[in-house]
């Protein structure tokens, strides 16, 4: 099979201005992936499926990833002019100093598609797409029109991560009920506090059960315990 760089070149030849980036995987699997520009993704996907050499006719897996906003600290070399006394004369001299600069990278949601070719017996080719942020601009193009097998998996990603797939024929929640508002696989998801009865609590559950009890006492509510049979 072609390497990611070759696939990238093939895409750029077929879809001008595709803006594909390669995301390297430094691990031993070396499964590098292609980061697609969402606005061109449908064209690129159509090419990947229909190209006689790649013939990626089978979409095996769609999943989501949640990246929170994070602060990145970078060390930058800065050259600036400093007044210094050289040979008894005051002069302006260039000096290079190392500075730490911090900037916040906005969080984003990502979908990952794993493609194989049944015809050519090769794969996987990994595609990624990223949303602009995690709150309001969470739209990505749906690849269901190209690979039908994406339908339920994109619904699952919509359900659990809240990525809205434009062009999906039937975008409803798949696992949770329709009235449910949260997206449970997001990293800032808060579980319902139902730790009122934990007879064999340990580790994190014990912590949560204690928190639940403390919150209950702090709110002034009387303990609900007492009427049931002792275990």
């Amino acid at each position: 099979m072609k390497t990611v760089e070759e696939i990238k070149a093939a895409i750029e030849a077929a879809v001008p201005g595709a803006g594909v980036q390669v995301v390297m995987n430094p691990g031993p699997s070396a499964q590098h992936s292609l980061l697609l520009e969402p606005s061109r993704a449908v064209e690129i996907a159509t090419f990947l499926r229909d190209d006689s050499e790649l013939a990626l006719d089978f979409l095996s897996n769609v999943t989501g990833v949640d990246y929170l906003a994070r602060e990145i600290a970078e060390k930058v070399k800065v050259t600036r002019q400093v007044a210094k006394v050289v040979d008894g004369v005051e002069q302006m001299v260039d000096e290079t100093v190392e500075e730490t600069r911090k900037h916040t990278q906005t969080g984003y949601l990502e979908t990952v598609y794993h493609l194989f070719s049944v015809e050519k017996k090769h794969g996987p080719v990994v595609l990624r797409m990223r949303t602009k942020n995690r709150t309001d601009e969470v739209e990505l193009p749906s690849l269901t029109p190209i690979w039908r097998s994406a339908e339920f998996q994109e619904r699952e990603v919509f359900d659990l991560y809240g990525i809205v797939f434009k062009g999906h024929p039937d975008l409803r929640r798949l696992l949770m009920w329709d009235a449910f508002k949260d997206h449970p696989m997001r990293r800032d998801y808060v579980e319902p506090d139902d730790f009122e009865y934990e007879p064999t609590a340990h580790d994190e559950v014990l912590l949560r059960a204690k928190e639940h009890k403390a919150a209950l006492e702090a709110s002034g509510a009387t303990s609900q315990e007492g009427t049931g049979a002792a275990l």
Partner: protein, 204 residues
């Protein structure tokens, strides 16, 4: 018991059969408990195995699995009850005619099991409907289901037709319908039915 046990056996030896209405009635009830044909997860496979020739639930008069709650006496909660499924389980239970019984089969049905800390799994069906027999196990073996079934038969046998603790269908005051939880924005609402499931005391 109107007739002493010893006297009854003695009379039996002489060819005289003595019984009470209560005994006869309960014998009839316990010998034809028809379960509902209804499975939720992997425990259902064990439940199916229990009905087949090797374990043969038919020996206990429970071989007729009814696909309608209207004709069923027993609900075997066989598997994980997700929060999405819980309202439907309670609704099916409400649709069953009295007298009705519930066996919670397996770790998931009694407590949530390995999925207990999941956001999507109910921590035991006994939070919404009264459960008569709990079976632990993941999944319980068919023998365990048979044991639970025999326990239920003993319970039915021991029910008096009058007085406190009589079966619900003979008690005009008894509550026969249980509120179906709503699927809320974050969790089921309410998260339990305190009338059925008062918060148990944890003793350490």
């Amino acid at each position: 018991m109107a007739v002493e046990e010893g006297l009854k056996i003695e009379l039996g030896k002489q060819g005289v059969f003595v019984t009470t209405i209560e005994e006869l009635y309960n014998w009839g009830r316990r010998s034809s408990v028809w379960p509902m044909q209804f499975g939720l997860a992997c425990c259902a496979i064990e439940m199916i195995a229990t009905t087949m020739a090797r374990y043969d639930l038919a020996r206990f008069g429970a071989e007729v699995f009814r696909p309608s709650p209207r004709q069923a006496d027993l609900m075997i909660i066989s598997g994980t009850v997700t929060k999405k499924m819980a309202p439907q389980v309670v609704r099916l239970y409400n649709q069953m005619a009295e007298p009705k019984y519930v066996i919670a089969m397996g770790a998931c049905a009694i407590s949530g099991g390995p999925f207990k800390q999941g956001y999507n799994v109910l921590k035991g069906i006994d939070r919404y409907i009264p459960v008569d027999v709990h079976i632990p196990g993941c999944p319980p073996r068919p023998e365990a289901l048979l044991q639970a079934f025999m326990t239920l038969q003993k319970k039915i046998d021991g029910q008096h037709l009058t007085g406190e603790g009589r079966p619900r269908h003979l008690d005009a005051e008894a509550q026969g319908e249980f509120p179906v939880p709503e699927q809320g924005e974050h969790d089921l609402e309410p998260t339990s039915n305190p009338g059925v499931w008062p918060l148990p005391v944890v003793i350490r």
